[in-house]
């Protein structure tokens, strides 16, 4: 065998190996992209009893560093056009991260037509804003910044201000492995922070795990909450209840069904068509997201337009049966005659609603303004 043949025999199989295994080589996992290899600390999210799992986007895992950055951004006034407002300006902890004003006032003194929603357990929510126009928290948190009647800033300006602030480049570096500050990273961080805002320490939570016993009034209120309204003579299945559970069910302990309802506030919806503005579906006219009732004692005023100042007014609205319209929810079945709850029943229902208050949530130092 001459030397040329020897080398041919040596090289040929080597090429064959390389060619035949090309497919396998391509299947090898790619190395992590630059910037992803830095160390972050996983945030240990504790899912409370009877809560479902939280769906966290795969591209935005919860990290201690990300949550901390999000908290700073949530309370950062540089996110507004004149550096006077942060998210926390309209979402006050002592009001269940809502606004006690009917309509929040923007940096130019403008007011909108919707009440600032309470920020509670949004990690389990499937849509955001009263009309559900944002599908993810990452999408939701960026919108008030550029809303001209709210914070009226541009993200370009916000990012520049953050880059010029010595506080933020290291915090972005810690959270994302790079000092590069982008809208996407800011949104991810704020969404992460909001996902940690969990309320699960109410009397109701404790009752479910056997650590609290309802008073007779609260117990009666709870039963009203979960029973069908009306008398059995008047309405099939009627049990003299308050019919709350249909839209504010507690199967996942969130006191909402995550859906959109017309709860009989108005006969027509020219002023605010609600969900219709998102879907264009006439059936969605006058429908708004059913909010959680957690901490409802402190999240006044109520309804999408904040028209009711007190829980008594809210209960009276449902007791009246509401105003019929072509899209009123079928669960609002007492537009004629109302629920006819007694004064005592209404008080007891409110007593139960107050069992949804979680004082530790308001006072949780992890959610407070870190700039102070």
């Amino acid at each position: 065998m001459n030397a040329g043949l020897k080398y041919s025999l040596l090289i040929l199989p080597a090429i064959t190996v390389m060619v035949s295994c090309r497919y396998d080589i391509e299947e090898l996992p790619e190395p992590p992209p630059t910037g992803q290899s830095h160390k972050t600390t996983p945030y240990e999210l504790v899912i409370p009893p009877f809560f479902p799992p939280m769906d966290i986007p795969a591209d935005n895992p919860l990290t201690v560093e990300g949550v901390e950055l999000g908290r700073f951004l949530f309370w950062e006034k540089k996110l507004s056009g004149d550096n006077t407002m942060s998210c926390g300006t309209c979402h006050l902890p002592e009001h269940a991260f809502s606004d006690p004003q009917q309509f929040s006032v923007g940096i130019h003194g403008d007011i909108g037509n919707r009440q600032a929603m309470a920020l509670i357990n949004l990690g389990w929510s499937t849509s955001f804003f009263w009309d559900g126009r944002a599908m993810t928290l990452e999408d939701q948190v960026v919108q008030p910044v550029i809303n001209p009647i709210e914070m009226d800033d541009s993200w370009e300006d916000v990012l520049q201000e953050l880059r010029n602030d010595p506080l933020y480049p290291p915090k972005f570096k810690a959270a994302f492995g790079t000092t590069e500050i982008t809208q996407q990273k800011a949104a991810k961080a704020m969404a992460s922070f909001v996902r940690t805002m969990i309320s699960a320490g109410s009397k109701f939570d404790k009752q479910r795990i056997g650590q609290y016993t309802f008073t007779p009034e609260e117990e009666h209120g709870f039963n009203l909450f979960i029973l069908e309204g009306g008398s059995p003579d008047q309405v099939p299945g009627g049990s003299f209840g308050a019919d709350c559970f249909h839209c504010h069910g507690f199967g996942a302990m969130q006191m909402t069904d995550y859906l959109f309802h017309n709860n009989g506030l108005d006969a027509s919806f020219e002023n605010d068509p609600g969900r219709f503005n998102v879907t264009g579906n006439p059936l969605d006219s006058g429908r708004f997201k059913a909010p959680t009732l957690r901490n409802v004692e402190y999240s006044a005023p109520y309804m999408h337009d904040g028209r009711f100042a007190t829980l008594e007014q809210v209960v009276e609205h449902y007791n009246s049966g509401g105003i019929p319209s072509s899209t009123i929810d079928p669960f609002m079945k007492f537009t004629s005659g109302g629920l006819q709850l007694s004064a005592q029943s209404k008080q007891d229902l409110i007593a139960f609603l107050k069992c949804l208050t979680d004082n530790n949530f308001f006072n949780n130092p992890d959610f407070s303004d870190p700039h102070e």
């Binding site: 065998m1 020897k6 080398y7 025999l9 040596l10 199989p13 080597a14 064959t16 190996v17 035949s20 295994c21 497919y23 396998d24 009877f50 809560f51 479902p52 799992p53 769906d55 389990w124 499937t126 979960i226 069908e228 059995p232 309405v235 099939p236 299945g237 009627g238 049990s239 559970f245 069910g249 507690f250 199967g251 996942a252 302990m253 969130q254 069904d257 995550y258 859906l259 579906n281 006439p282 059936l283 019929p324 319209s325 072509s326 899209t327 009123i328 079928p330 669960f331 609002m332 079945k333």
Partner: protein, 257 residues
């Protein structure tokens, strides 16, 4: 030295064989080589036209009605071969007829002539089950149930059919009279089975089974006309008679092509 190239050659050949062994095994596992795809398509109709949620129709009694919600659970959806074991297409499926509903299943090649499923949820999954144990995307989770989860002790609605009506039946009138048929609870589980002309499924085929739901027949039943002027509300409990009528009409409205 003369044996060195030969040795290297043998080693490389061995590496080639060993290195590529897993790939060959993976190819053997590739699904679809002995199966065909069967699509089970739910097709709601109203008066022989495609049903549209939110459209205004007339019932047989002259009422103008608009169905806002038509949702139901189907469980243990099986396609049935001429011989052999049933092929499970879906253990639980939530159909929302405001949108399209199709179940796809990889079926072993063979002949099929039947379909079976339940309307509703099997008792062991219906009551006294914590829905939070499911992933949020699961149809039995609170989020995934699209409002059909009642409470832990009453289970799920099996059928949600509601909307508005104009009882005078006058064009242009607002539809203000609500009707709501919300049927659940274990006794309302309805097993159904259908046969159809033999469907041959070969490897790589894509075949379709169409489930027709004549939505108009839920009120205008073949054997039971429901008058929504008087019978317009049931949440099952307290009016199980109407719930039973609605569920019977619904079951009778279903056929398979």
């Amino acid at each position: 030295m003369n044996s060195l190239p030969r040795l290297l050659l043998i080693c490389l050949c061995c590496l080639w064989v060993v290195g590529c062994k897993d790939k060959k095994k993976d190819e053997d596992k590739t699904p679809g080589k002995t199966t065909g795809k069967v699509k089970i398509v739910f097709t709601p109709m109203y008066h022989d036209q495609p049903f549209v949620a939110g459209a205004v129709y007339h019932d047989n009694m002259g009422h103008r009605i608009r169905v806002d919600n038509l949702l139901c659970y189907f469980s243990l959806v099986n396609i049935l071969p001429v011989s052999g074991n049933a092929v499970l297409a879906k253990d639980i499926y939530l159909a929302n007829f405001s949108m399209g509903n199709t179940i796809e299943v990889d079926a072993p090649h063979g002949s099929y002539d039947g379909l079976s499923f339940n309307i509703g949820i099997l008792p062991e999954y219906n009551k006294n089950v914590d829905p939070t144990t499911y992933p949020n995307s699961h149809p039995l989770s609170v989020q995934g149930s699209q409002g059909l989860f009642w409470t832990w002790n009453t289970g799920y609605m099996f059928l949600k059919y509601d909307g508005k009506a104009d009882l005078d039946g006058v064009e242009g009138n607002p539809l203000l009279s609500p009707f709501a048929f919300h049927v659940g609870d274990d006794p309302f589980l309805v097993p159904l089975s259908f046969s159809f002309p033999t469907l041959q499924v070969n490897a790589g085929d894509e075949k379709q089974i169409k489930i027709i739901i004549r939505v108009d027949k839920i009120i205008d039943g073949e054997n039971d006309q429901i008058n929504i002027e008087t019978d317009n509300l049931t949440h099952t409990g307290g009016n199980t008679a109407l719930a039973e009528r609605v569920m019977t009409n619904f079951a009778n409205s279903i056929s398979v092509e």
